[in-house]
Symmetry: C2
Subunit: 344 residues, 2 copies
DNA sequence: ATCGTTATCGGGAACGATTGCGTAGAAAAA
DNA sequence: TTTTTCTACGCAATCGTTCCCGATAACGAT
């Protein structure tokens, strides 16, 4: 089954003009008489002519498309980011090609090569939780492929980055729990390789230390698959609850981990916040509908997508090589709800 | 900033061979000596040569990419569908290009043209809630562009479709409420133009009529933006509650409408299911975490994406024009939870 | 009458890869 | 020695578009 669109050549043949003339008429060149222009334009409209972007891509050596690499789409945070990406890219005439790493390093490498060979004009990347080797990015970046990282970034590559103040957000969340009388505060987080994990851990740690509480390694549990596997969350929680000095509150990093933890707690028939309090990084749209309503740190996902895309397009469309890069730090929002407030 | 990949010409120049020889060597043609082959292969490996898929697309008149048109990504159902699409497309060597209509007819038209002109090999479509005119699809479909519809379909175009048994699902949900003693059952649904809306309405209606309950037009409220606007959901609910014969239960169609309704009910300080019961079409991952836990009809979203993609690729890769089409009907799942069960 | 100018348009190369066809050179057959 | 037969490669067209050059005609100026 073949889909055969009208080409510039077809128009030329039908009108007895050369392809060059048709091309110029279509682009409104000054060196084409208005009669011819009108004729061409009308005919093109009539046969519903659309320029073939593949031919254009080949000629212009650009595809007007940008590749996105995230761990998964079916995640509140990332789907909101993609929305932000889409909102900018669409208006600037770029297509968005999305690929999911599913938190797998191998899959990320394959996807990146796939996208690059597909001649995307640039890449928007949030690293997978397994990624430690950046060679696949470095290689392409050195060859001149524009890349912008967001959320889960690396400092091995000098380029634009868009992040949030994870340290502050985690600090704030932990401090909130301390102020509400919790003293044994645990932390269930994502893979230790991720930038966001390290930053959040520091914020959590400093909040404890600066408020006279000890930092206990045993209180920190990592979910190396970023919470994509239910069992790792359950395991983390069970391990925490086995400790003799059982935590009375905890901070979770990431959508999956937050809701996964809440589910696991419910399955254990523990009450929140009476038995254990919870503050989570989450971009769920329905924190108010949960039981209990959930205290969350919300990331400006949509905005992150927008900013990252603007930065990427600015590199792509820059006439001269870009040499100075920035790291945009956006602010998180903190919403206090029931899950973290001890009822007196 | 330019990204300049190695071409077959570069290899030829470096090795003193013509492009044809290099091309053939790369594809292992029998008419190239093994010496030359080895030389080319080794050099290509060394400089990390990747064939330019854009040039290939131009020549082969196919792009190995499929376009997806949904109303929005940041929606449980659609993001799960996209996951299913991606899982198949990836393995079959296709790229997925996603576009969002945001429930706007105009935006849908623009996106479809954008994708078609971008030379996607086929289209996976779920209609926007505003769409009544199918001309933009008919036009392309008649020209031979393979299209498969899923979830929100049209019978104006004869092609493969993947849907669920919406009639049965709505019937079942309504019956469940009736069996639980509810007699004044309302229905908040999406745009009246959508196939899913009509089918669900029929299921709802028949369940009422076949169980000795009257069907009341006033009990049916439409959200023409599919619930994307909070106010339309609130408005629908308020209108329902203003009726003197105030409903004691209702069925909601769609993720947004379901959670939106629950939020609106909470804001009115009504209790669920004591004051009003609720059964909703929803693909949320956390129905158990809601308060109350939510009785849901869940669509096999991932599977829908997979099936639709398989059907589309089968058309794309078919040697001869496809003339016989099928409509795959998948089964929904019904989960009874607290929101619909009257506590005696 | 000759030249320059301007307005309009066409020819053809280029983008990267594939592929049918042609052919040089060597080996094999006559 | 001559002819045939392979082997192993190059040439050029092709996909749709743009754009650098040229080409042509009309027209006014000298």
């Amino acid at each position: 089954m073949k889909y055969e669109p009208v080409t510039i050549k077809d128009i030329g043949k039908a009108l007895g003009l050369s392809t060059s003339t048709v091309s110029r008429a279509l682009r409104g060149s000054y060196e084409i008489s208005s009669d011819t222009k009108k004729q061409v334009l009308e005919y093109a409209e009539k046969v519903n002519y659309r320029p073939n972007p593949i031919a254009l891509s080949l000629k212009e050596r650009r595809s007007s498309s940008i590749g996105v690499v995230v761990c998964e789409i079916a995640n509140n945070f990332f789907s909101q980011v993609i929305n932000g990406i889409d909102s900018i890219a669409y208006n600037r005439g770029y297509h968005v090609i999305i690929s999911q790493s599913h938190e797998s390093y191998e899959r990320e490498v394959v996807n990146v090569h796939h996208l690059a060979s597909r001649s995307v004009d640039g890449l928007l990347v949030s690293l997978s939780s397994e990624t430690t080797d950046m060679a696949h990015f470095i290689n392409l970046h050195e060859k001149g492929l524009p890349i912008v990282f967001f959320d889960r970034v690396t400092n091995e590559i000098i380029t634009h980055k868009v992040i949030v103040d994870n340290y502050k957000a985690a600090y704030e969340a932990t401090l909130h729990l301390i102020k509400n009388g919790y003293k044994k505060i645990a932390h269930i987080t994502s893979s230790p390789f991720l930038s966001i994990t390290k930053e959040r851990l520091e914020g959590y740690k400093d909040a404890l230390l600066e408020n006279g509480l000890a930092f206990n390694e045993k209180y920190v549990k990592y979910c190396s698959h970023g919470g994509m596997i239910v069992e790792e969350i359950e395991g983390a929680l069970h391990n925490l609850l086995k400790i003799k000095q059982k935590p009375d509150a905890f901070v979770t990093a990431g959508d999956r981990i937050t809701t996964g933890s809440l589910t696991a707690i419910k399955n254990l028939h523990l009450r929140v916040p009476e038995d254990i309090a919870l503050v989570g990084f989450s971009n769920t749209n329905i924190p108010e509908l949960l039981n209990p309503t959930l205290t969350t740190i919300r990331l400006p996902a949509f905005e992150m997508g927008q900013v990252a895309t603007e930065l990427l397009i600015s590199i792509i469309e820059s006439k001269r090589p870009v040499t100075s890069f920035e790291t945009r730090v956006l602010q998180t929002e903190f919403f206090v709800r029931e899950s973290s407030v001890k009822l007196q």
